[in-house]
Each structure stands twice: as structure tokens, then as C-alpha cells.
């Protein structure tokens, strides 16, 4: 019997009760939210369960929602069951003051770089990660650039004299 979104939801509800919330299916992909301390338990269950077998971590990244006070950062996991070819997505929200989540590196080796990237850009502190250091940005950086409080430069600014890069100068 092939797996359906309803079946997955059923199984997760049986296991975790009403701790998992916000069940939606945007564009057909089952999506839910897990509480902060439970991310690894949910991953472990999805990985180990004989029917679910979500053993392929497709993607892991974070989103910053500054307006959600107390749950500013969301870490999003995309998992894939390659046997039944079904994907799910789940999110874990955390407050920006103490963004500590459990690392998934013990389950998925692929989580290593992805968690480092998420740390690098959003400052999520993955507990248990073997080597949580910046990956794409310079080591000296002391902020997390993908957070929404760092907007891109205003393209219409005129105060910057930057002749080398085609901006500023007399005929600009």
C-alpha cells in the first residue's frame, strides 16, 4: 500500500498526539509544525518507522519572520521517502534570542553542511553538530546576514562615491 499524506498525518498524530500542528498541504506537499524541542524526535520517528521511511533529507534551511514575536526563526526540513516517492515538509519555530535546536547530523550526514549554512545565515545553534562554524561567509562576520533586519542596499542611494564600480563620479 502506498503512502498518502493522510496516512502520514495519521501515523504522526498517533505517535505525537496534538503536539504537531498547522497541518496544511500547499501544492500537494504535506506540511506541519513541530515544537522546538521535538525536532529530532520527529526526524528520528520519520526515519525509523517501517512504513514512513523518510530516509532522504532533501533540504534544510531557515526562514526569518520578524513579526512573529517569540517564534521569529523557522527551520524547514524537506524529507523524501524514495521508496514510495512522497515528500513532506515540517517546520520548527524558535525564538531569536535562544535559537537552539537539536542537530540532525547523527541521522543524516547530509545535514552537516546544510546546518552549517543555516547557522551561517540565520544563527540557528544546532546542538550536537560536530563542527558548527561558518561555511560560506567569512569567519570574522559577527552577524547573520539572511535575517530580515539586514536589507539589501537601496539601489537609488546617491551618497556613495564608487567610481570604480560605475557609480558616482561627475557624469552619473
Amino acid at each position: 500500500m502506498s503512502l498518502t499524506n493522510e496516512l502520514i498525518q495519521q501515523k504522526l498524530n498517533d505517535k505525537f498526539g496534538d503536539q504537531l500542528t498547522d497541518w496544511v498541504q500547499p501544492y500537494g506537499m504535506l506540511t506541519f509544525t513541530a515544537p522546538k524541542g521535538l525536532n529530532l524526535k520527529v526526524l528520528q520517528f520519520l526515519y525509523d518507522d517501517a512504513e514512513l521511511k523518510f530516509q532522504f533529507l532533501t533540504d534544510l534551511q531557515a526562514v526569518h519572520y520578524p513579526h512573529l514575536k517569540g517564534a521569529e526563526l523557522a527551520v524547514v526540513y524537506h524529507l523524501h521517502n524514495l521508496t514510495d516517492n512522497i515528500r513532506i515538509r515540517f517546520k520548527v519555530f524558535t525564538d531569536i534570542a535562544s535559537p537552539d535546536l537539536y542537530s540532525a547530523t547523527a541521522l543524516y550526514s547530509s545535514a552537516n553542511f546544510m546546518e552549517r549554512e543555516t547557522y551561517d545565515f540565520f544563527g540557528i545553534n544546532f546542538l550536537g553538530h560536530p563542527n558548527l562554524i561558518r561555511i560560506l561567509n567569512v569567519d570574522e562576520m559577527d552577524y547573520f546576514p539572511m535575517r530580515k533586519e539586514f536589507p539589501l542596499e537601496d539601489q537609488s542611494r546617491v551618497d556613495k562615491d564608487d567610481e570604480m564600480f560605475g557609480r558616482g563620479g561627475a557624469d552619473f
Binding site: 501544492y27 530516509q55 526562514v63 524537506h78 543524516y108 561555511i135 539586514f150
Partner: protein
């Protein structure tokens, strides 16, 4: 290997040699660094460093309307830009709920498979170069040139193509494009066959690549491998089959798989995929030719609100001018939604995770770059092997710096 005594960390004398392979080493074929600890020529330990050409694409994308993100995707895997472009267009079309006419799908398949061929031929011929066989590279390179000429006919550029639009292509394929395609289909198989004759049963090449940089299917899956590298390890996962897009399900093709996941299998899988791509192009081309009359003029979907109109029309038609203005000035809001969409790019599953809050730009866009994810396995793949195996493993993984760093 293990009975060597390593001195404590920090001591000036040591038994191993530290070698920086990269960031600008000719053998890395891109800007990334590997710090190797060598015992003689044997790699004891390696540390990979990436990020040298990080260009903040995800941040940039947060202020760009959808059509301006296409040139960003060019610069991910720049050996097969059209695949990335199409992947992005398909993501947008899924978000906007646009369905394409069949002819556009087939034209896209032609371009995507050409691009896959150009990606694989570079990778495979570079594996040849790194193992000391230069001539294969020269044989195949001229066909990459021909593929680039076809791109040029369709979109006007060669490497960073920015090909197509949301909803289709920017213009219909010209006769020259089809003539060049005919030429490619007629001549490439012969050359590819010759290339295979040079390599596949070549004793030196086999000795050099068999068993080198091998990975088991379990480890490959755990490391998030996708694409030819995963298939070489024996897992028949291909996005074109598992989540069909762009009418791939209209065609017959098979997914070549390897057994051992070593450099030799990766090489064979890529070669076989080129044959499959050739057959896909032929099938798609045949179907394209079946469209006659006005049907043969269709090269985009009828979605004026998102499809950037042809420049000629912008100057002569009121409606086209309005839509052009609305799209360029960013007055067209995109619907709110959350979507993960992926395509089979040259190196594997290229995914786009797009969150839109209903504004003119994405709220968040994340690129799942296959290279970035499978590169983590490199340290494990080369451990205990020879330095020259590390080089050949690196090229057979087809690491593209642009895709690593985003």
C-alpha cells in the same frame, strides 16, 4: 596506514605533509580548498573549505521580481545554465498555476537535454584529462561549442544563458537552430562512440578509476547524493521520472545505474545518460516537427500577466506595452504560497524552495544545490587513497564552484 604515529597537534615537527589543494589549484577546476594531510602520497585526513565565490544569491533574490531571478540561476551550475533556468521557470509556473502548451514542453526538453549533454561531456572529458588522457576532451569540446551555438540561436547568449521566460521561450526556434540541432544529432553520436572507445575498455583508464572514490548506496543516500553520482552507486532516483515535469512522462527513456559508485561507474553512468539524452532529444524533436501551421508558431503559454512580451510587440501593441510595463516595473504581484519544486539538473536534484507572501518578490528563496550537499562526502571518499585519486574523484563528482557556493 594506521600504525603510523602521529605527533600531537600543534607540534612543529610532524610526520605528515600538509598540502593545500586549492583554492586556485588547476586540479580543483573551481575555487574551493582542500587541506590535505599527506603521508607520502596517501591522504590521511582532509578538510574542505567552500565559500570563496559566495555571491549571496538568496539575499539578492529577496528583492528581485521573478523574472530577474533567472540570471541568478545561470550562475549556479554554469556548465548547464539552461537546466537551472528551466528549473526556475518551472517553479514559477507551478506557483502561478500556468500550464504550458505541449510544443513548449518539448522545446524545453530539447534545450534541457542538450544542456545535460554539455554538462556531462565536460565532466567526463575532464575526468579523462585528469587521468592523463587529453584527446577525449578535444573530441567532445567541439560539440559543446555546437550546443552553445544552438543556445545562441535561441536566446542570444552562450554560457550564462538566461534562456526562456516564465511561460515559455522568448522567441520561436529559428530554422538555423533546427539546422544546428540536425547537425548535432547527426554528428554527435559518432563522436561519443569514439570517445567511449577511447575510454570505456581502456586498461589504463580502468586501472585508474575502478575502485577509486567509491561510495555505497546507503552512504550516498545518507550524504544526500542525487543525480549521476547517486545512480552510479546503484539507486535509480531521477527527478524526471519520480516527479515528472515538462512532459517528460510522454517519452521513453531509461535511467542508467551503476553498482559500486566509484569513478568508473560515475563515468559510465554519465556516458549512458548522454545516450539517453540524445534519444530524448530525437523523440522530442520528432514531436515538435509534428506541429504544423499555426501550432508550429506556439512558443509560449498565453499568460500575458507574467510572460514578458516580445520587444517588437511592446513597440507596436498597446496591450503588450501595458504588460511589459507592469512586469518590468514590478507591479505584478505574485500569489502568496509556499512551494518546493525541483528538476533533474546536471548534478542532481536542483530544488527551489520559494515562499511568497504575495508581494512582488519572493519572501524567501532557497536553492537546493546538489553539489553543495554531496561535496561533504568528499572527505570520506578520498580518505586513505592516493593524492592522484583525490584529484580524479573530485573531477568525477563534477564539483562546480558556482553551485557549491550560491
Amino acid at each position: 596506514m594506521s600504525d603510523h604515529i602521529l605527533l600531537p597537534e600543534g607540534s612543529i615537527e610532524k610526520l605528515t605533509t600538509t598540502l593545500n589543494l586549492g583554492p586556485t589549484h588547476p586540479a580543483t577546476h573551481g575555487v574551493f580548498q582542500n587541506i590535505l594531510e599527506l603521508d607520502g602520497e596517501r591522504v590521511m585526513k582532509s578538510t574542505s573549505t567552500v565559500g570563496y565565490i559566495h555571491r549571496a544569491f538568496e539575499k539578492l533574490a529577496e528583492r528581485r521580481p521573478l523574472y530577474q531571478i533567472t540570471p541568478i540561476t545561470d550562475r549556479l551550475n554554469y556548465c548547464s545554465s539552461p537546466l537551472n533556468n528551466m528549473g526556475w521557470h518551472i517553479t514559477c509556473e507551478r506557483l502561478l498555476g500556468i500550464t504550458l502548451p505541449k510544443r513548449v514542453d518539448y522545446l524545453r526538453i530539447i534545450i534541457m537535454e542538450l544542456s545535460r549533454i554539455s554538462d556531462h561531456l565536460i565532466c567526463n572529458s575532464i575526468v579523462g584529462v585528469d587521468s592523463g588522457a587529453f584527446s577525449g576532451f578535444l573530441y567532445l569540446m567541439q560539440f559543446r561549442e555546437l550546443i552553445y551555438e544552438i543556445y545562441e540561436e535561441v536566446c542570444g547568449s552562450r554560457l550564462t544563458t538566461n534562456i526562456g521566460r516564465i511561460g515559455g521561450f522568448e522567441r520561436n526556434f529559428t530554422n538555423t537552430a533546427f539546422e544546428k540541432l540536425d547537425k548535432f544529432l547527426a554528428e554527435y553520436p559518432k563522436q561519443l562512440k569514439e570517445f567511449e572507445k577511447l575510454f570505456n575498455r581502456n586498461r589504463i583508464f580502468m586501472e585508474r578509476t575502478i575502485g577509486c572514490g567509491a561510495i555505497s548506496a546507503e552512504r550516498a543516500l545518507n550524504y544526500g547524493f542525487t543525480g549521476p553520482n547517486l545512480r552510479a552507486a546503484g539507486v535509480d532516483y531521477d527527478v524526471r521520472v519520480h516527479t515528472p515535469y515538462s512532459s517528460y512522462d510522454d517519452f521513453d527513456f531509461s535511467i542508467p545505474v551503476g553498482k559500486t559508485g566509484d569513478c568508473y561507474d560515475r563515468f559510465l553512468v554519465r556516458n549512458e545518460e548522454m545516450w539517453q539524452s540524445l534519444s530524448l532529444i530525437e523523440q522530442a524533436y520528432k514531436k515538435v516537427k509534428e506541429f504544423k501551421g499555426t501550432d508550429a508558431e506556439i512558443f509560449h503559454a498565453d499568460t500575458p500577466a507574467y510572460y514578458l512580451p516580445e520587444k517588437k510587440d511592446v513597440y507596436t501593441k498597446m496591450e503588450a506595452l501595458i504588460y511589459h510595463f507592469k512586469i518590468i516595473m514590478g507591479e505584478t504581484d505574485i500569489p502568496a504560497g509556499e512551494l518546493y519544486s525541483s528538476v533533474e539538473a546536471g548534478n542532481g536534484e536542483l530544488g527551489f524552495y520559494l515562499i511568497s507572501d504575495g508581494g512582488r518578490t519572493p519572501y524567501r528563496l532557497h536553492f537546493r544545490r546538489p553539489c553543495f550537499i554531496y561535496y561533504q562526502a568528499f572527505e570520506e571518499l578520498i580518505k586513505g587513497g592516493m593524492l592522484s585519486d583525490a584529484v580524479i574523484t573530485m573531477s568525477s563528482l563534477n564539483l562546480i564552484a558556482g553551485e557549491l557556493d550560491a
